[in-house]
């Protein structure tokens, strides 16, 4: 219990340091968010000064940081510059479900299918199936996601008109439409972006799982299980696979931030209304408040991923608990 409390405290401290660093580094990055408005809209000096005051950009860095931390403690991350007068929390909150849905689906596909295929490869090591799965997964890994997305859209959506090319929902379907209609609609829109991201990420999971499984299959306890006359299925999934799961736990911790970080390119191409697209836009316009909001969320997920992995090892592997 003391270990868990210590580890959690460490994670909180890491988060706080990362927030401070993010804030300072963003302000040090060249590029003034209001200079862009001046350039495009031909604002006068007075108008720019008024805008600078509105967003607190006329204050010294320390005062800006202090105001930000006080607001963040109350759950207020400020007002977006690019989407004025919208609150950052409402902007992030509006896009989070879309990102969680896409990221969650990709994680699910990645770990269920990737794990199963990795085990399959290990069981049939050296076979034609193993070689072909390795080639295909590496081909997927080597493919840029935006390129694959464009190809899929061109074929599946534009040529064959099977699935929608973009968006998360058909805007013509009313919010009070039957639940099944809305669910099916979201599912249709989800297929292409999820498949695109899964194809380019699944190779890592398959390779990790294959290697871990091959090592496990060489262990004495597997040989012993077979000697005891257990079925091959039981040997594989009941004994070898459970021990080959530890590397996957590490991988899962590393992948967890994908839940919110999303993929900028895939979200853009498929016009998926998630945090990736919002972050890309905020970077391009130096929308500091929005950038801080999305960066803090990603940072929290990275730290949480590490914590989940550590706790997972702590619970599953007795060796970790030994002093």
């Amino acid at each position: 219990m003391r270990w868990l409390a210590g580890r959690t405290l460490q994670a909180l401290l890491t988060f706080l340091v990362s927030v401070l660093l993010l804030f300072v580094l963003m302000r040090l990055t060249p590029g003034d968010p209001l200079a862009r408005l001046e350039g495009d809209s031909q604002l006068s000096v007075e108008e720019t000064a008024a805008l600078r005051e509105r967003f607190g950009l006329d204050q010294p860095l320390a005062a800006q940081l202090s105001a930000f931390l006080r607001g963040a403690a109350r759950g207020d991350l400020g007002v977006s510059i690019g989407h004025y007068p919208e609150q950052v929390t409402s902007l992030v909150g509006a896009r989070l479900p879309a990102t969680l849905l896409l990221g969650g689906t990709v994680l699910l596909l990645n770990f269920t299918l990737g794990t199963w295929l990795g085990v399959l490869q290990a069981r049939r090591r050296g076979s034609a199936l193993d070689r072909w799965l390795s080639r295909l997964s590496l081909a997927g890994y080597a493919m840029p996601s935006f390129w694959l997305g464009m190809i899929l859209i061109s074929m599946v959506s534009v040529e064959w008109q099977l699935l929608p090319a973009a968006q998360m929902r058909d805007p013509l379907i009313a919010p009070d439409a039957p639940w099944a209609t809305r669910w099916l609609d979201v599912a249709r829109h989800l297929v292409l972006p999820a498949v695109t991201l899964a194809i380019v990420t699944i190779a890592g999971t398959m390779r990790y799982q294959r290697t871990a499984m091959l090592q496990a299959l060489r262990q004495d306890y597997v040989r012993a299980a077979r000697a005891r006359g257990l079925t091959e299925r039981r040997v594989i999934w009941g004994h070898a696979w459970r021990n080959a799961l530890f590397p996957m736990l590490t991988l899962f911790g590393l992948w967890l931030p994908i839940l919110v970080a999303g993929s900028v390119f895939v979200e853009s191409i498929f016009n998926w209304p998630g945090l990736g697209a919002l972050t890309a836009e905020a970077v391009a316009t130096r929308d500091y408040p929005v950038l801080m909001g999305t960066a803090m969320l990603t940072s929290a997920l990275v730290i949480l991923g590490g914590l989940v992995t550590d706790v997972g090892y702590f619970l599953l592997d007795p060796r970790v608990r030994e002093p």
Partner: protein, 545 residues
């Protein structure tokens, strides 16, 4: 496996329309690149908000087909049924008694007075207050008459009175303090007086507006307008190609135009704009406004560089048929544009001779002209997000290389580019200005007074200032004065005016009566119709709100 295949097949099936969506009069789905998150005049900023606001809110009147902003003639009535001039400082407007807010309340003079009060308050909108700085007083005379008095006589009084501050509903807003308006419930669900009323908005995704069947200027031809947000140009294109959307107001890059034009259900039309793209010469030293630029302060050098560029070729290679060469700082649509005016003509030999006359020669044989040991080398800043400007910048570099001028391309992230531009940290800057119908905005970029603001290159010619001032305050033939001012600017060559683009607008062929007002095409959308017998399934859908 069979179950999985069945599930996949189910997902691939088109979703049937939900119950309760039967049509009254069609649907138009518009793809936009920027979100109309606050489509309320005086509150929202940017083109996207202004476009959506054009469907929700009317102005008192708008310029006629020639888009002339000077004088009192040619304007088309909207909320104001007619107007009269009482003297050189006073205009009186009579409101149309049929005009109603979408909650049924009549539009009155009180609404107009209230809106001007807010718009002229610099704390509410500094930009609007600046535009309305010559308005001395706005008062109501009864429920239907509004009197606007100005501080001085000038030719755009009527334009200023009708264009900048579309009336807002005083009965809903006068209890909301100005500083709270942007975050108020009204902004989340505005009540307007235009042809379309608010439907619903999904932040970051879409906006839906439904036709007001009782709209006093006529019944809208399309029952609902759905606005889809897609920032990525590829996604915008795909939404048209897969049939989700009907209208995209600017297909980018221009190389995608043939792909859309080849689709039998779509057509692509050019829509001229108020935009001008230009290579701005810094008249001051790089990052130092106290010193003259060692090369570009010389007007002959600037003229030589302008003459050395084949602007026709630059524009054709970048925009195809959807742009023209800019002949000065005015756009295609400005009523003061002189079709006969030509900024620097392409004459490479003359450009070389002019440079030689100013002492620039390739004395060391390195292919770059030099004078007193200083090479003719300049940095050209351009914003990375602008694909046309990136392409033209490379062509400019190539064309000037042949003349012995070295151009170092500095590709910058948007905010960094703008920051450097503001600080004067450039030799050449690839700028672009999107203006409104009034040419008065030219003062900000091309006058001596503008040097503290938008005139970042510090160009100053008192003769130009005088001509523009006379054009703004004068009466009668102010077009001639404006054209003289433009000619004087062109003679000074403070920039190479490169392109005056038209948008390549893609729209579905089932729309007829497609009035496209170039200063704001959404404002004419209510007159569009759907050709009988060409309805799509979505045209049978009833507005959902």
């Amino acid at each position: 496996m069979r179950r999985a295949l069945l599930a996949l097949a189910l997902i691939a099936l088109p979703v049937p329309p939900a119950r309760g969506q039967q049509a009254i009069a069609g649907t138009a789905v518009i793809v936009v690149g920027q979100e109309p998150n606050v489509p309320v005049p005086t509150v929202g900023t940017g083109r996207a908000n202004a476009d959506a606001a054009d469907l929700l809110f009317l102005r008192l009147a708008r310029p006629g087909a020639d888009l002339r902003t000077s004088g009192d003639r040619g304007f088309q009535p909207e909320l104001a049924r007619n107007w009269s001039r009482r003297d050189s400082l006073t205009l009186a407007f009579e409101l149309d008694p049929r005009a109603r807010w979408h909650d049924g309340t009549p539009v009155t003079a009180r609404d107009v007075v209230f809106t001007f009060g807010r718009a002229r308050d610099a704390r509410v909108d500094a930009q609007k207050a600046l535009l309305l700085r010559y308005v001395a007083e706005v008062r109501a005379e009864g429920a239907r008459t509004v009197v606007v008095r100005f501080t001085r006589p000038y030719s755009e009084q009527l334009y200023d009175a009708v264009w900048h501050a579309p009336p807002l509903p005083a009965h809903l807003l006068d209890s909301i303090p100005p500083e709270r308006l942007a975050a108020s419930a009204f902004v989340q669900r505005p009540v307007g007086n235009g042809p379309y009323r608010w439907g619903r908005r999904e932040a970051g995704r879409s906006l839906e507006l439904s036709a007001d069947p009782g709209f006093f200027l006529g019944r809208p031809g399309i029952g609902r307008i759905v606005v889809l947000l897609a920032r990525d140009p590829e996604a915008q294109l795909n939404l048209l190609l897969d049939g989700t959307a009907d209208i995209l107001d600017n297909v980018t890059p221009a190389s995608n135009v043939p792909r859309l034009a080849s689709r039998p259900e779509l057509r692509v039309v050019p829509v001229p704009t108020f935009t001008v793209g230009y290579l701005l010469f810094n008249q001051r030293a790089y990052g130092d406004r106290a010193a003259a630029h060692p090369i570009l302060a010389d007007a002959d050098i600037r003229r030589a560089l302008a003459m050395a560029l084949d602007r026709d070729a630059l524009v054709r290679a970048t925009f195809g048929d959807f742009s023209t060469v800019a002949e000065g700082p005015v756009a295609q649509l400005h009523w003061i544009r002189d079709p006969g005016e030509r900024a620097a003509r392409y004459d490479r030999a003359a450009a070389g001779a002019l440079l030689a006359a100013r002492g620039w020669r390739d004395s060391d044989g390195d292919g770059v002209l030099d004078r007193n040991g200083q090479p003719l080398s300049l940095r050209l800043n351009y914003p990375a997000p602008s694909a046309p400007r990136a392409m033209i910048a490379q062509l400019v570099q190539e064309q000037l290389r042949g003349l012995g001028v070295r151009i170092e391309l500095v590709r910058l992230d948007g905010p960094v580019w703008a920051e450097r531009r503001g600080k004067g940290e450039f030799d050449l800057d690839f700028s672009s200005a999107s203006m409104d119908p009034s040419p008065a905005g030219l003062v900000q970029s091309w006058s001596c007074a503008g040097r503290s603001g938008s005139n970042v290159a510090q160009y100053c010619n008192p003769q130009v200032d005088s001509l523009m001032e006379r054009a703004i305050t004068g009466h009668g033939d102010v077009r001639r004065l404006w054209r003289e001012a433009i000619r004087a600017v062109n003679h000074d060559a403070p920039a190479v005016f490169v392109f005056a683009p038209a948008n390549a607008m893609a729209l579905h062929r089932r729309f007829t009566s497609t009035l496209i007002r170039p200063e704001g095409w959404w404002s004419g959308l209510w007159r569009w119709r759907i050709a009988p017998g060409q309805q799509l399934p979505r045209d049978a859908a009833r507005p959902t709100s």
